[in-house]
């Protein structure tokens, strides 16, 4: 069993072809810019979509812990009382309260994945494991990857790389493409902005590269954190030194995740950051290209 917070169909920017992306809940990192905050915590959570509330009070009546409230702006959760039992979401016909995170078996996830096999076949697509951090639920990730390979489905693993080498060693044979996040080369800064050291991350990257795996490096460009020329040069230099690399992608920062923080009742740590300009992205791309790297900029959506 694993906790999954979303299964997205027609996912078109997480690897080749038309894909289904399985989002695992739980992540060892706490990147300040995280746009999937619902993926951080390993466990179910209640989220609120206030605009949908019809003020029927069913949630207030259903909550056994007195945590569900109805405020002026809509539904509220008293987080300290909430046991995350989900009773309020079951009675919420308007879906203003929803549970994020569902315990699923490999078979259940596969049932959702298999529905779209005709699309993978036709477009050269497949399945992407993302999150959160899929490797935080290693056994399940392995089981799912194996099940995909059993069905001849292309697999991609979107990972922050923060795991033991043993973990990679066990499942790397079932991964067709690594979407490998690289945020910062500087160990201290990495620790400061993500909460963990990047020592392991870099070592695992090196090891995967040496073994000839297909790797697409993905660099989120975060204003004031890693968008200066020097930092990007460090990344470029590291990427260029890898024995094998299939591409490097720059993902411009966006403040799209902000809404989700509100729904989760969490505080966003970069309230003032602005998306990098096109000129900025072009400048950083140029730096990477100067190192002879195959660069791709993700569509700025």
């Amino acid at each position: 069993m694993a906790i999954v917070f979303d299964i997205r169909k027609y996912s078109i920017h997480d690897g080749p072809g038309i894909r289904t992306t399985v989002f695992f809940k739980g992540c060892p990192l706490r990147c300040r810019w995280c746009h999937n905050p619902e993926g951080q915590f390993l466990g179910v959570e209640v989220i609120l979509r206030s605009a949908r509330c019809i003020r029927c009070r069913a949630c207030v009546e259903a909550c056994p812990h007195g945590a569900a409230r109805l405020g002026e702006a809509g539904p509220e959760v008293q987080r300290e009382r909430c046991e995350r039992c989900g009773e309020c979401t079951l009675v919420c016909c308007a879906e203003a309260r929803q549970i994020v995170g569902r315990e699923m078996t490999v078979a259940q996830v596969m049932a959702e994945i298999e529905g779209d096999i005709p699309f993978y076949d036709e477009s050269g697509g497949g399945v992407t494991l993302s999150g959160g951090e899929p490797l935080a639920q290693r056994d399940f990730a392995l089981g799912l990857l194996e099940a995909c390979k059993e069905k001849e489905i292309h697999t991609a693993l979107d990972t922050c790389g923060f795991a033991t080498w043993d973990t990679f060693e066990r499942l790397r044979a079932c991964v067709d493409l690594f979407l490998y996040d690289l945020k910062l080369v500087d160990a201290e800064k990495h620790h400061q902005f993500t909460g963990v050291s990047n020592e392991r991350i870099l070592a695992n990257l090196q090891a995967l590269s040496q073994r000839g795996h297909k790797i697409l490096l993905r660099v989120p460009v975060i204003p004031g954190i890693n968008d200066d020329a020097e930092t990007i040069r460090q990344i470029a230099s590291l990427a260029a030194s890898l024995p094998h690399l299939d591409g490097i992608e720059l993902l411009p920062y966006h403040h799209i995740g902000v809404d989700k923080y509100t729904r989760l009742n969490k505080t966003y740590l970069l309230p003032d950051a602005q998306p990098p300009s096109e000129e900025k992205m072009a400048e950083l791309t140029y730096i990477l290209q100067a190192y002879g790297l195959p660069v791709k900029i993700e569509v700025k959506t």
Binding site: D6, R8, K9, Y10, S11, I12, H13, D14, G17, I18, T21, H35, N36, R49, A51, R52, I54, C56, A58, C93, A94, E95, G115, D116, P118, F119, D121, E122, S123, G124, G125, L251, H254, I256, G257, V258, D259, T262, E298, V299, T301
Partner: protein, 787 residues
Amino acid sequence: MISERVALLRKQSLEARPTLSTERAELMTEFYKQNLGLVSAPMRRALAFQYLMEHKTIYIGPAELIVGEKATAPKATPTYPELCCHSLQDLEILDSREKIPFAVSPQARQVYQETIIPFWQGKSMRDLLFAEMTGEWKAAYEAGIFTEFMEQRAPGHTVLDDKIYRKGMLDVKAEIQHSLEELDYFNDPQAYAKEQELQAMAVCAEALIRFAQRHAHLAMASAKREADPQRKAELERIAEVCTHVPAQAPRDFWEALQYYWFVHLGVTTELNTWDAFCPGHLDRHLYPFYKKGLEEGTLDREQAEELLQCFWIKFNNQPAPPKVGVTAEESGTYTDFAQINTGGIMEDGADGVNEVTYLLLDVIEAMRLLQPSSSIQVSKKNPDRFVKRAARIIRTGFGQPSVFNADLIVQELVRMGKSVADARSGGSSGCVEVGAFGKEAYILTGYFNMPKVLELTLHNGQDPRTGRKLGLETGNPATFKSFEEFFAAYEKQLRHSIDIKMRGNNVIERLYAAYMPAPFLSLLIDDCIATGKDYHDGGARYNTSYIQGVGLGTITDAMTAIKYHVFEEKTWKMDELLKILDANFEGYERERQRLLNKTPRYGNDDDYADRVMVELFNVYFDAIDGRPNTKGGAYRVNLLPTTVHVYFGSVIGATPDGRRAWQPLSEGVSPVQGADRHGPTVVLKSVAKIDHARTGGTLLNQKFTPQLLKDEEGLDKLVGLIRTYFKLDGHHIQFNVVDAATLRAAQQHPEQHRDLIVRVAGYSDYFCDLSQTLQDEIITRTEHQVF
């Protein structure tokens, strides 16, 4: 690329205001006032056609290369009083209504008042038709159970094949002569009737030649007066073209287009045929002329493109005939549904994409006109490059071209009895309807309101809106013990309403065969000449009558909700559910939300709801498919709405899918607006559970934001999506690449746009769930992307 000439003509076409032209009505009245004595119906219509071709105004506009207008000038629109005689009140409505108006001048009103109305009032086909319908039919029609296509327009729905590119009208006349010589007056009791029909066709062939000659004379006379040497040469060339075609087979690209255009004007002047008369597979028809021109050095790509653009403008100059009443509601548009096909497969099964295919796609993109409509016919044999080229146009967000499954269309046509070769030379027309081009009369007879029948079943045959009894007494719904029992009652009710519609159709078909033959259209469609029979009387090789089902999504969700909540979960008893519906959910918002959000719904690849959908499709199919019409053909089904889902919704109270009273129904085979929650692949999986091969067309709309198609990768994936849907035997898909205006509307009415998915960043989200700020940001970005 658009030349100065085309830019001018295009602007003129876009700016011209649709006006009502009384010329045709006046000529028709003059003709019918001449006391012809005893003349057979086809001959009377042929002589009427000849009279029109001989006397109507000839228009050749400045800078035009392709010439000929249906009325007196671009966007002037003729009327057909012998079919539907507009009253003064109708004219007032046409002139003043907010949507789809036609300017009616005081002179036009006077002509109608003094000449047209006194002669035709009470004597048009419309009057005759309503007089011949039963009380039961009228009650069902007025209640909005179905519409009637022929109440203001003539049956049409046919598309041309390649014959005019091989034969001139003189060749056609020779064929008619041959058929006349073959008539067997000793053994065939129909010989004389056939003689009359064939003679009528011969008159029409001659009339079209005469019509072209009148253009040639005007062009020549204008050339003589023309000071500009370039325009003078063009006018001389126009005169030469119009002298050669349609009398003889076209020799080059220009003549081919001009020939078609004369034929188009002929067909749409003879009668106001419903839907879609068009050249069909224009790319394959023009390719030989294009290739020859290039090889001989008499044509280059730019010239071909300019001629095509001029041809396109001609279509855009012709608004659909003015409609009033229910017909205006079911088809509220100026578009007359000519749908140029591109790609597909050739008669011998080969890949149908050629250089002209790409040329046409360039023209479609550059012209960006409502008419003609365009489609790509996608076969597994066609290259991805073709589909991707079309995807680039789709991305620009004007809904064209629509996308069809050419291989499935062949299957559909073969199932309905066409030869493989005839099926392959067929394609789609109108909205999504299939036909064997040049060989089939495939008449759309009217839309059928499936959810209204459910409403009747829920009220034991009574219409709750009016209290009138319209259906059978299938039982008090509260007494049904099982879903199966309830469903059987629905099926009984459905068959009853279909029978009412079909009986009416069979009478109307005879009315047209007897009083309103179409000898000109007949000479274009195989095998009317060979059999000596009219297009309206079974002369075509294939004769199909359709009843178009509407509201599949709505009725599926409504029926599923009944199955789930009343018979299985027992959330409510039937009478409790009816009480909620009668209250139009007032005071029952929680129940409505439960129906919307906590009930299985079609469009989510959920077999619970999708199986109900398949059952509903099957009973509709079984009630109609294969039953004989009066022309030696059969009834078939298709699923499309044009704009009738709005009208049909306006006659139905609240439904168990959570839809409020009088709101629109779902359209085509699309899920209920907002019911599908898992993106396009999942919708396609659900929709593909319909056996499209047993239909004559289904319509699926998908909304996309421009971001999804912004880059090459997005386009490639769209191609993959289309290819997969077609691998699953889907019939048609069209993409609505949403612009900022739609997104703003979504902000104001989120309940109607819950299915609108926007690519937010590394993930997608429902637009209506985003904060106002974020929505605003996306709207701003969208505007940048679209224009």
